[in-house]
Symmetry: C2
Subunit: 173 residues, 2 copies
DNA sequence: AGAATCTAGTTGCAAAAAGAGACCACATCA
DNA sequence: TGATGTGGTCTCTTTTTGCAACTAGATTCT
């Protein structure tokens, strides 16, 4: 990730990608969710170069996704553990895994399945739902300005909503 | 993204990131979900250089996330539109947006809100659910081998499950 | 005690990728 | 005919990556 001012963008996706959006970062986190905690283990599992790994781990620590803990009783032993913020990425990674399962590997070729560990039953595909819990499709969704919308965001949104209604309204359907 | 063999990895997250995991790609898709379709518009909105944008769009077309359509009645006019595969990323992008809202911008500072367009009501936070629909937390989840698991994946999984049960079992919890 | 080893990196260098901006081909519009 | 717009490519410079060697503190082996 370059030093673009992700930190100034008025968009949570861009801001989130400022933390995660590097080529390696999400793979490092996949490993972390798989229980990997040590520098050498990340290195071996990912076949990533040390300097890049070092940078990325530091970046994730700086942004609060991982914490670096000295667990050294004998010699320097550090562990990189998921923070609360990091663990909350479960949803994102699971959605991504399911998308890959569906569209790249195809049904029936899932390498890993996420299950409820007490029952062993697979979880549901992650979906977007209304407040009453019913699932909702992409075309029924729309973006609206939130409390943190900048003037620019509001303007873009206006253009977007105009185009959208023009597309679906025009005495067709 | 480098020419690592993402295409050979036995992991849907890695494979999905082979398609999306580049620094720019998810931002391009965010724009696409915002209704942007034309080269010049992506360029202007993202402040991305033309050569990189060109490559990324091509990459997304090659992998079936976008399709390039000639809509030119007068002169060359191409549009890059989300395919079905692309639209199915709504869940991933929404989960990412919500994560950014929660942990980076903070509650009450959301620039954009995803709503049900017919009622205007905000959607639920994306969650992982059991097959009966009840939400389930990260610690109740576990990975199991799926039908497409390679031998290597199975071995790693075994080690992971062993460590996990060692951590939670030991006459404590 | 001294040598080898292990962990967790840092440093230096060559190759690859990104960014900026000029340039281009084709088509329309005035 | 000339100006303008679209959708790029080409070239050059700056950054980032990957690889390998090296370091530093602590431990284990003999």
């Amino acid at each position: 990730m370059r030093q673009r001012n992700w930190n100034q963008e008025n968009c949570s996706v861009a801001r989130a990608l400022g933390v995660l959006g590097d080529t390696w970062t999400l793979l490092i986190l996949r490993e972390a969710f798989f229980g990997t905690r040590r520098f050498a283990d990340f290195e071996a599992r990912l076949a990533i170069s040390k300097n890049v790994l070092s940078q990325r781990l530091q970046h994730l620590v700086d942004h609060g996704v991982l914490e670096k803990i000295d667990v050294g009783r004998h010699g320097p032993r550090f562990e990189y553990r998921l923070t609360h913020m990091g663990k909350d990425l479960t949803t994102v990674l699971t959605a991504l895994r399911q998308w890959g399962d569906r569209w790249i590997l195809g049904e029936g070729n899932e390498p890993l399945i996420v299950v409820d560990r007490t029952t062993g039953e697979p979880i549901e595909p992650v979906r977007i739902r209304r407040s009453d819990g019913s699932p909702i499709g992409p075309r029924e969704l729309e973006l609206r300005a939130g409390p943190g919308a900048s003037e620019e965001t509001r303007e873009r949104l206006e253009a977007y909503l105009e185009k959208r209604s023009a597309k679906t309204d025009p005495r067709k359907g």
